[in-house]
Symmetry: C2
Subunit: 282 residues, 2 copies
């Protein structure tokens, strides 16, 4: 029973599952490995879980993901009332997993998601020329199969190794070293961060030449730095464009307030998606 | 034997396989169903196949794909010497496939890619409440499984139905009707289109406030309409930003030539990815 006046710490976190994906790694990095996690089948479901209060937070990939089409995340952001309260950047590292060190000589096939197999091709060619490669629905599923069969190796994340009790025979086997995915943490309430912040907004404009230029003028005038800009076709036929804009500063700063005032005359609609601390390494 | 002076029509088209994906639908729409197709395991492989002359054209998803992370396409465009020669827009339509009409009463499970299952959830809930849903590595694989087992239904494209000789029991079962994916056609040579054209460029700038604004000024001055703009982190540490910009007009038009002249002073590097006819419906 919850005492009146007591603080209930809500911590259930919905994410794009299954367990062992990089989305789970993002949850663990931000909320800790003991976070109460709720695995969802799709990006839409993560939004729904938070909107319907089945979870307090949702974690979704928004850039460079191999797990889900991140344009889906943008489409969901257009429709939701949720706010962005944090961002998490995860380096995408693939590992070669088997049941134990002794199993190495008996490996007969390597399983993983098709994109992961493609991303580790140079390493596989060098170390396992001619081995049977089999595509499965996710890297987490690959780890599950390796945990079931001593002759199967999986390419998957470190977290998948932990989840399925697998031995990491080789780390960082992906051909490109600089691969990372950016995730957003969503919640029903806005939080204004105290330190160095970033803000994400959606700007809807009419389909006129120069529309984007007019949207950017206030940022130039008040010297607010853009960190990202992206156009998406609006789903509504009335407006031709939606701009996703990330910039430095929180909604409480005077320069940002001035930008918003000027944007109101230049856009059909503006939606503040939230201010949040800048992820480290940016 | 090829006669000296005869025209050799090169038509091999590399695409992101397996057969039966929406990428194959894009190939068939642009090159015809009889095109000589080469199925590749990853987006990088499609680029490589054209660069190494194993194929004359490559078809890759660039927007809103459920089949591959389209940021990969953008990263590949940064590194390649290939040009964009066309764009193809494909409506993403999911269908409920089985071996034949009589098999309907015996269906015991539905297989598909996890994203497709999620996208058809409302329809599945209404028409097949409680049915066993199983995730597989791709929709094409789902169709293959349905073709093997009379008790299995697949959610996949019309082209997968054709490839595997399956019966289409229900069409357009996805919850969202307005879903489409944009593909690019790549080749080793640039082609300047005769009619209404679009051009894609990459613009590298230094990490200074207002960098994007200065890049957009020439477009505003010469009234060249942007159709899309996207920022990507540059892989090279030296430049902070790469902008992917699509605009109306071909590189041969005077206004576009003026924009390019002015951009040269404002950007660290500009790369013309190609001019190509605008896809219908845009």
């Amino acid at each position: 029973m919850i005492e009146p006046g007591s603080t209930v710490k809500c911590a259930k976190v919905a994410f794009l599952g299954p367990a062992g994906t990089f989305s789970q790694a993002a949850v663990d990095k931000h909320f800790g490995a003991n976070a109460d996690k709720l695995s969802m089948a799709s990006i839409d479901d993560v939004f729904l879980a938070v909107e319907k209060m089945q979870a307090c937070y949702g974690v979704v990939p928004v850039e460079n993901s191999t797990e889900g089409a991140v344009n889906y995340t943008q489409d969901c952001l257009m429709d939701t009332s949720l706010s962005i309260v944090a961002e998490v950047v995860i380096a995408i590292k693939h590992n070669f997993l088997l049941q134990n060190a002794a199993a190495l000589s008996g490996i007969k096939r390597v399983v993983s998601h098709r994109q992961s197999l493609a991303q580790c091709r140079a390493w596989l060619k060098l170390n396992w020329p001619g081995i049977l490669l089999q595509e499965v629905s996710s890297n987490a599923e690959a780890a599950r199969l390796a945990a079931e069969d001593i002759h199967t190796a999986a390419i998957a994340s470190e977290i998948a190794a932990t989840n399925y009790g697998l031995f990491i025979h080789a780390r960082n086997i992906q051909d490109r070293r600089d691969n990372s995915t950016r995730f957003l943490v969503l919640a029903r309430n806005t939080i204004i961060p105290a330190g160095k912040a970033k803000t994400s907004i959606l700007v809807y404009t009419e389909n006129k030449p120069g529309a984007l230029f007019r949207v950017l003028e206030p940022f130039e005038k008040y010297q607010v730095s853009l960190t990202k800009i992206e156009t998406r076709p609006a789903r509504d036929d009335m407006w031709a464009y939606v701009f996703f804009i990330d910039f430095e500063g929180s909604i409480n700063e005077p320069a940002v307030k001035n930008v918003f005032l000027q944007l109101e005359d230049r856009a059909v609609k503006i939606r503040n998606l939230g201010s949040y601390p800048m992820a480290s390494g940016q």
